[in-house]
Amino acid sequence: MISFEHITKWLQAWLNAHMSPILVLAVETVLIVILAIALFAVLGLVLVIMERRVAAFMQIRMGPNRVGPWGLLQSTADTVKLIMKESIVPTHADKFLFNLAPFIVMIAAMLILAPVNFAQRFHIWDLNIGILFITSISSISVIGILMGGWASSNKYSLLGAMRSGAQIVSYELSAGLSILTIIVLCGSLKVSDIIASQETGWWIFKGHIPAIVAFVIYLIAVTAETNRAPFDLAEAESELTAGFHSEYSGMRFALFFLAEYINIFIVCAVGATLFLGGWMPFHIGHLQGFNHVMDYIPSSIWFFGKTFFLIFVIMWFRWTFPRLRIDQLLNLEWKYLLPISMVNLLVMTVVAIYHLHF
């Protein structure tokens, strides 16, 4: 059976047979860059159309259905429109920072892809502190957002950037603590080790109640971190026009928009890796036949299936809960989620020390 692992191994062997080691490294780097950019473009197009279709499904209407078969080319047409549009820079803007900000947000999103395991032994760089790398780089995008909001020299942009930054910084804490709960169980920060530790069962099933609590807190925290409804007051249209990217137009706006969707994909991929076993197939105890059938499904399908399921859940939130006020948002984080996740981490440590998990 052909898998990503076979393709990469075959390619590496072929390159090594025909080129010098330095050239092999260069060619592989170029290939990875092309693949990452292609993944970004495809993900952006797919997620936008998925968002609109899910929204239409929730509200019992058709959604985009004119461009291409079943309206699938709608987001492609939108992208072409955005590329053709003129990018306007406000007169009093800080030109350099204004132009730099979308790229910083984009580069941060791209760097996070490195440790993600997309399929069995298919990843860019499986470094030994993978999860920590993801959390640290995701905090860089705050700088890009603040930069963009400040450089547009518009009070609405600045206020939106401030709200966005405060929200990301505060919800990062409980997201980090719920990630830590699973790290305590597997004892490694390396992504492939975390997945390997779930061979007998996913942590959400094996880790008792603390794992489930951590999973719920993680979902709430990342929804807030990606600035999505019900936590989208950073771009509350009725009060702030559009938040930190009010002044952006054309391709620069598209980059912010794309980075937002890529971030949703990444947080869901991390959630799937930590709680739902990454590319590990679903196994039930000693049911040999069932387990073998599950093993036949390729690992990449498992990974993307779990990730897109989580993305669907986050899109589902958007049409289920009303938007929070800023004081409710901060109360939820500092008075409820943070204490709960701290106690949860303690309980999980006890579970891990006494090997109470399955």
Binding site: I143, A161, V169
Partner: protein, 167 residues
């Protein structure tokens, strides 16, 4: 010239130039952004020494948390070129002399230190900066200073809350 050498000189030049730009930028927001560039260059140095954990923690703590708070404060106070207070030329000169003397003392002390002389830097294959080794040392050999530092942080946090609550 191996790749490590080129990277070392590139990162060092980046760090020094960015640090100078922190001082020379007229706009405080630009200064903070240059300071973030300095932290990234330093993280690059850590990675050259195979201290990946230190590199990432440096990015999280400084670039990700402290500098974001700096940016918040500076942006909210709306400091810019016009509002910057004009300082006396003699004050500037005195500051330059004091800081230069401190630099000279530090450089001469580092040059004389017997602990540091004739020691080679572990490039690429040192493993003390990896999370496992660092954690073991911090929680066995240096556990008391480590815990005292954390109490210091806690008291600073409590202090901030107490000051903030006073109306």
């Amino acid at each position: 010239m191996s790749a490590t050498y080129i990277l070392f000189w590139f990162l060092s030049a980046l760090a020094v130039v960015s640090a100078l730009m922190v001082l020379f930028s007229k706009n405080p927001v630009h200064s903070v952004l240059w300071l973030i560039a300095v932290f990234f260059a330093i993280s690059g140095h850590y990675i050259l020494m195979n201290a990946q954990f230190l590199a990432i923690v440096n990015i999280i703590v400084y670039a990700g948390a402290i500098m974001v708070l700096f940016l918040f404060v500076i942006m909210l106070m709306n400091l810019n070129k016009e509002t910057e207070p004009r300082k006396n030329i003699w004050m500037k000169l005195a500051g330059a002399i004091a800081a230069g003397s401190l630099l000279m003392i530090l450089v001469s002390l580092v040059g004389q230190a017997t602990e540091l002389s004739h020691r080679n830097l572990l490039m690429k294959d040192g493993d003390i900066g990896l999370i496992k080794n660092l954690g073991k040392i911090l929680f066995s050999q240096y556990v008391v200073p480590f815990e005292i530092t954390s109490i210091l942080f806690l008291s600073a946090m409590v202090g901030a809350v107490v000051i903030g609550k006073k109306d």
